[in-house]
Every structure is written in structure tokens, then in C-alpha cells.
Symmetry: C2
């Protein structure tokens, strides 16, 4: 049995839904279809979810929403018309959304969650109707009915463990199940949404619940690329990568989808196949627990901007018990998360995302480090890029670090930081933002172009 999830761009129009239908019915193992809300049809289009958020916020502000409401319903209606299915379903959707908008607004975040979730929920109803219209045995199943129970955290709900046993029973249903992504219900029956990439999370939970053989995640690219295609032209596609590689790569801004969404599937050992709705015969990228090493040591290179470093030096710091712990306590007091803490003999550097900082926070932190920890020097530097070089093949592969460092040196890139030691499947380089492209290109050339096949 396969769980198949389609993203918003795969569901944005009737034409797209026809492709989705063909994909699902072409393989009888594709039993459970998880759907997002309709996404963009063209680059300036607005996603239904964004229309819904706008609508909910206006309602909360006491404003008129007549035209916004009409726009949302029109999106569903245009799909239904394109597919030539009965417009009864549009009445159902309109009625449902109106009731939600008239619902309880005492807790605005829950109200917002309910409105947002309706995008997926109503789309699942529409798609089920379309499948039925095409003469296939298909049914809409709601998360409530299926027993997808979540924690009481609006916008960041976590699946509760009892859900999995409930969801296992979906195996017994006949025909195709069309299931809305993005939300579940708490024990009181209130709607609560997951965090971003919520439909990916739902698919992953369902795959775990029904013990699927495969979780297929349909999106709009043929595969996961080995490097950001806006930096390197026509990069190599990755046919197979491990969960761990995916996690390391997605850390540095490399994401077809949000890696945490995969946790439920990962825990159940279910492979994930990222595929393209617009080119379903392409093999896509498989994300697995273990893989054969068929390429060189490196499978992917990712980079992420927007880091800063806090350098702290103090003579004899090295002898001082508790220095590091007290330093991290100061950061914690400001609610800052840090990424890495490379250290020298009498100095230490904290690498963190600079969007957490502003001039005031920087001044306050500097002051506390100097007055409380008696540091000799505190220097904050901005605009660092972290580059991750990832691959299971790097495990005990003598020389990968040297190759990477040499490639950077030959390209004239100055390495501000190297972090290697903890993870066996990655190494990280810190460089100045201005050198990002040159650095990534040099690493790509070293490991993907120069590798003898």
C-alpha cells in the first residue's frame, strides 16, 4: 500500500487534477491520497491558504469580507467547472466555509487554524467528488473520523501517539481515500494545524499509521538536486539519499520539503519517493534508511545565508570551569538559539542566525559577556554563509576534507570556520556571504564534475 501526497501546485487547476487522477489510478497500490489546498496556477497567483488567512484576519478585525469570500469559492468553482463535475460540491464548500467564518472567535488563534484548515479540507471533498465523477470508488475521510488526534498547540500541533492505531484501521476501507493534509483535532474536537509543510506531515503520519510500503510525495520538480540550481547550472539529480543526508542538507536551506515532516515515516522505516506530478514517469528521488554507495563520497552540497558570529576571547579562558555554560546561559536569557560553538585555547566563537539579533540585542549581549564573564574582547561579525557538504560515503573516507579544503583554496575562498567532528556524514564550512557562490561552485566541481565515473 502506498500513501500519495500532492502539493498545492499539483492541485491548483482542473488540468492538474486530471494528472493527479491519472497518477493515482495508474497504480492500484495508491490507496491513500493526501491533498493540500489549491496552490498557485501562475507565479503571481495567490494560494487558497493565503486567501483564507486574509479572510480570517479581516473577520477578526470586524471588516467586510464579501469579495474575499467570493474569490475563495470561485477558486474551487473554477476547478469544478473545468472538471465538469456537479456544482453541488461547491454549495457544500460555500456552506461549510460560511459556518466556519461565523464560528467562535473568542480564541483568535483557534479560529484562524479552523479557517486555514478548511483549504485542505474542502479541497479533499472536491477531489473525492472528482474521483467519484470519474467512476472510481473514492471517499473523502476527515481527520476527525479517522482519529488523527493532535496536541493543543495552534499552528504547531504535534501528532499524539494514539493516532497511529486509529489510522491503521484506514487499511480496511474499500477504494481510494482522499484525506486533507495540514491538520488534526485535539481531544475536544477542535481543529489545529501543523506547522509549515503541514500536508507533508499528514502524509508522513498516515504512511506510518497504515504501515505503507512507500510514501510518495508529488511536487513540481523531477528530483532533489545535488546542489542549489540557482547557484550551479543543471546540477546532478540525486536518485537516492538517506534520511540523515536529507536532514543535514535541509539544515542549510536545502529543501524540497521540510525534513521534520518526514519523522513519522522515518520512525516506521518507510521510504519516501519525491516525484513530479508533471513528469510522473521520472524516477524522482528516494529517501531511505540506508543506501548503496554508488556515487563519490558526497551526495549533496547546501548553503544557507544569514549567520553571524560572536567571537569572545579571554586569556586563560581554557582553565575556567563553567565559562562555556555561562556564555550559553546568557544567549538563552535572550531566547537565542545558536548553531555551533568552535573554540580555540582562549577564545570561543558562537555561530547563530542573525535574524534573531538587532543592534540593541548585540549591545546588550556584548555588555553582559564583558561584565559577567570578564571577557577581554567580544567581536560580532555578520553575513556569514554556512556550507554543508553531505554524504554517507564520507564516513571514514580519508581525504574528503582535504579535497574540499583544497577546492576552496584553489578558488580563492577563505574558510572562516570548519566544523567537523560530530557528524560522520557531513562537514561544514563557514565563508563570507560574498564568497558563497564561488565556494559552492568550487565544491560542486570537485565532487560532481571531477569524480571519475
Amino acid at each position: 500500500m502506498k500513501v500519495v501526497k500532492f502539493g498545492g501546485s499539483s492541485l491548483a487547476s482542473g488540468e492538474q487534477l486530471k494528472k493527479v487522477f491519472q497518477i493515482v489510478v495508474s497504480d492500484p497500490e495508491r490507496k491513500i491520497v493526501v491533498v493540500s489546498a489549491p496552490g498557485k496556477r501562475f507565479s503571481d497567483d495567490i494560494k487558497v491558504t493565503d486567501l483564507l488567512i486574509d479572510c480570517a484576519e479581516k473577520v477578526l478585525a470586524g471588516e467586510e469580507i464579501e469579495s474575499e469570500f467570493a474569490t475563495i469559492i470561485e477558486r474551487y468553482a473554477s476547478i469544478a467547472k473545468e472538471l465538469e463535475i456537479s456544482l453541488d460540491i461547491i454549495d457544500t464548500i460555500s456552506h461549510d466555509l460560511k459556518a466556519l467564518l461565523n464560528g467562535n472567535k473568542e480564541k483568535p488563534d483557534r479560529f484562524l487554524d479552523a479557517i486555514k484548515a478548511s483549504g485542505e479540507d474542502n479541497n479533499a471533498k472536491l477531489i473525492a467528488a472528482y474521483f467519484q465523477h470519474r467512476g472510481v470508488l473514492a471517499q473523502y475521510v476527515s481527520p476527525k473520523e479517522a482519529g488523527l488526534i493532535v496536541s493543543d498547540e495552534p499552528g504547531n500541533a504535534q501528532v499524539l501517539p494514539e493516532s497511529y492505531d486509529n489510522l491503521y484501521k484506514l487499511r480496511d476501507r474499500e477504494g481510494i481515500i482522499v484525506f486533507p493534509g495540514f491538520f488534526g483535532h485535539n481531544k475536544n474536537g477542535d481543529v489545529l494545524t501543523f506547522s509549515r509543510s503541514g500536508s507533508d506531515i499528514t502524509g508522513s503520519i498516515l504512511a506510518n499509521g497504515v504501515k505503507a510500503d512507500l510514501y510518495e510525495n508529488f511536487t513540481d520538480v523531477d528530483a532533489v538536486y545535488s546542489v542549489n540550481p540557482t547557484i550551479v547550472q543543471n546540477p546532478k539529480e540525486i536518485s537516492e539519499l538517506t534520511y540523515r543526508e536529507m536532514r543535514e542538507l535541509s539544515y542549510a536551506g536545502f529543501s524540497v520539503f521540510h525534513d521534520e515532516a518526514l519523522i513519522p515515516a522515518f520512525r516506521a522505516g518507510i521510504p519516501v519517493n519525491v516525484k513530479n506530478t508533471n513528469n510522473p514517469t521520472a524516477p524522482g528521488t528516494r529517501i531511505v534508511n540506508e543506501r548503496a554507495n554508488t556515487n563519490g563520497p558526497v551526495i549533496g552540497i547546501a548553503s544557507d545565508k544569514g549567520f553571524c558570529s560572536i567571537y569572545i576571547s579571554k586569556y586563560l579562558m581554557n582553565r575556567e570551569i563553567g565559562f562555556g555554560r555561562r556564555l550559553l546561559q546568557i544567549l538563552e536569557d535572550f531566547g537565542l538559539t545558536y548553531e555551533h560553538v568552535p573554540s580555540g585555547i582562549d577564545d570561543v566563537t558562537v555561530i547563530l542566525r542573525q535574524n534573531q539579533m538587532d543592534k540593541e540585542i548585540e549591545a546588550a549581549i556584548t555588555k553582559r559577556i564583558i561584565t559577567e564573564l570578564h571577557a577581554d574582547k567580544v567581536i560580532i561579525e555578520h553575513n556569514l554563509v554556512l556550507i554543508m557538504v553531505v554524504g554517507e560515503g564520507m564516513r571514514h573516507n580519508v581525504g574528503t576534507t582535504a579535497r574540499a579544503a583544497k577546492a576552496l583554496a584553489n578558488a580563492g575562498v577563505n574558510i572562516e570556520m570548519i566544523n567537523q567532528g560530530s557528524s560522520e556524514v557531513s562537514m561544514m564550512f563557514g565563508v563570507k556571504e560574498a564568497q558563497e557562490k564561488r565556494a559552492v561552485q568550487a565544491l560542486y566541481n570537485e565532487f560532481f564534475v571531477a569524480v571519475p565515473v
Copy 2:
């Protein structure tokens, strides 16, 4: 004005003292001579300080010390005889030591400090007597008389700031001052010793106090070597290195003398010249604030054994505020100091000296990390070596890292850890103990043999 310090091996015999005399009188700038206790004359010899400790411990245990006492006095007497000076000084020394041994034993650590310090103190008296015997204007000056005031910490006294103004007045004395190293007095007049390399500390304090132009530290090697000569044969000597390089190198077991001893001289910006009593015309090694870069990027390579690593992994660790701080708190609760904390996305490694750990502590730490931090995995590995590659020339020198990593890779050395990012003048590699020699040799060949001159 120069402060000149001589170590124990330079003062072990009359023959050595003749060299010392020649060195001092050959330069009229050499005004202040700091001396250790007599050291070893041959490899199986016993240092006077060790004889004194043995003697003091026996006294505290209520044992007879007649023969031990005689052995100590005989050491001074044999030097005096060799130098053909009046044995009056031996009477003085004998009388002084007897009085100390009969002194107050209520606080054994202070008693021990007083006995230990007598080794330097009496040697200074003997040496002053010899200088006078040679017709030179010279005087013994005691730390008490000079106002070298220290904190009340037996075996680990710290100089108090008011000492420096007191010591400045030594400039006004005529002739050569012979000053005992290793100790000062607290405000009550009790003797307290410095930590190891205590005479180096005294010399450094005096150099600062009198605002010397140079602090000459005479020992028994021609220079500081660029690498451990027991690993690499006939290594290059270092003619000049900065305080910072010295500190980074000495961290990894690389020490002609204890780098912390240099702090007072360093704070006053006074250069240090390490020279050889047995070959005083050799230029030795100068330790300075800044140096011209006359060699390649690397000035020295040091390595130190006996480290272990605690690897901790936990899925989504990266999102958890306070994880690192709580981990360091656990180590602190066990009184452990750590060296470095390289981190991956969902894992972190703590590098620390393994002599702080035993099976029980390891088990207790592992348990706390698992139960309190809910780590997925904790793995402790032993017998790591840290290798420091140091040089001011590495600052923004693109490619040094690559050269080092490539040299290690070509030698078949697996790099367990790289720590670069904080210090600009060093990089650190962690390797398995069995690969230490091969790794150090490979780095030496890369930076010292292969460098085009």
C-alpha cells in the same frame, strides 16, 4: 636593564655556576638574576627541591631526617667547595634550614611551602656569595625585603598588584641583585610558593616590576623547536614566536616552560629570550608581541595525548533551546573541564582530558545525559590526540587548512575532528593516538621541509 633567570640544571654544580657568572658579567645590562634551586647534575640525580619535599614530609610524619638533612647541605657544600668560596655560607644555609624544619607545623601546607622555598632562597645566598667572591658587586635580595607580596594560596600563590611598585625600586640598587625564584610572602609575612615553573614566574614578575627591556630565560636547550624532537628528528629551531603562538603551542604539551609564567612579562610588553646556559652565544628563541613573518604560515606543531570524546546524538537537538547549556552543566556537576565542543545538526561531541574520567564517572554521565536530556545515543571514545598547527602567518592565508588536511590524507591519517574558526593563528586536528607520530611527521614535512625558501 635585563632580568636573567637560570633554571635548576644551570645551577646544579660549581661548573655550571661558573658559566652563569660569565653570562651575567659579560653584559652590564644583566642586573637582576633570578635563580632556581640546584637541579639535576646527571639524569638519575635528585633535585634539591625534591630532597626538601621528602625531608618536610618525613618531619610532618614524625620521622628522623638526619641523613636527608645532611644530603641537602652536602649539595650546597659541594658547590661551594668546587667554587672555592668560604664555607661560612654553608653554615648560614644549614642554620637557616634547621630553623625552618623546627618551625610551626600546625598548617602542614604552609610548612611545606616554607621548606620548598628554602631551596631557591639558600641557592640565591650561595650564588650571591660566589659573585662577591669573584670580586663583583652583588647582593642577595629576599622577596620579603623587595616587597614581592602574594595571595594566601599555598602551592599556587598569585602575585598581588602592589608588588610591582615595590619591585620597581630594585632599579635603584647598585650592582647585581641575586633573587630567589619560586616564592613570595603574604601580608602576614608567611612564605607561599607559586605553582610549577615558579622561578619562571618570579623572573616574569621582576621583569614587569623593574620594566626590564628583556627577560632572558636560560635553560638547557638552544631554542624552542618547531616540533617535538622525539617525534621528528632534528627539527627546525624557532628564532622568534609571539606570545599567542607560544600559548597555543604550549596548550598541546609543547613547553620549554609553562606559558602562564609569562603573563606578567606579556602584560608589560617585555620580550622574552629563551637561551642555553651551555651555549650562550646561540641566539635562542625570542617570544614577542608581534613578529615579522619570515617563515611560511606555520611556526610550530604540537600534539598532546590523553583526550577522550563524548558523542551525543538526539534527533532535532538543533531546535532545542538550552541543550548545550544543560549538557555543559552536567559536566560541570562532575567537576570536568572540557576542551572543545564540535557540533553537527543533531549531534554534539565534547572533547576532554580522559584523566578526569573513570568507568564510574563515564557511566554516571552517560546515564544523566540519557535520562535528563533524552539523548538517543551517547558514545565515549578514548585515546585521542589533539594536534595544534600554529602560526601567525595562517591569518587569512587561504589554503593552509587544505595543505594540512591533504598532508594528513596522503599519509593515510583519518581526521576525527577539525577545529577551526575561533583562533586565527591555529587549527586543531583530532586523530587516534596510534596515528599521532605519522600525523605530526606528515604536517612537519608539509610545512617545514616542503616550504620553498
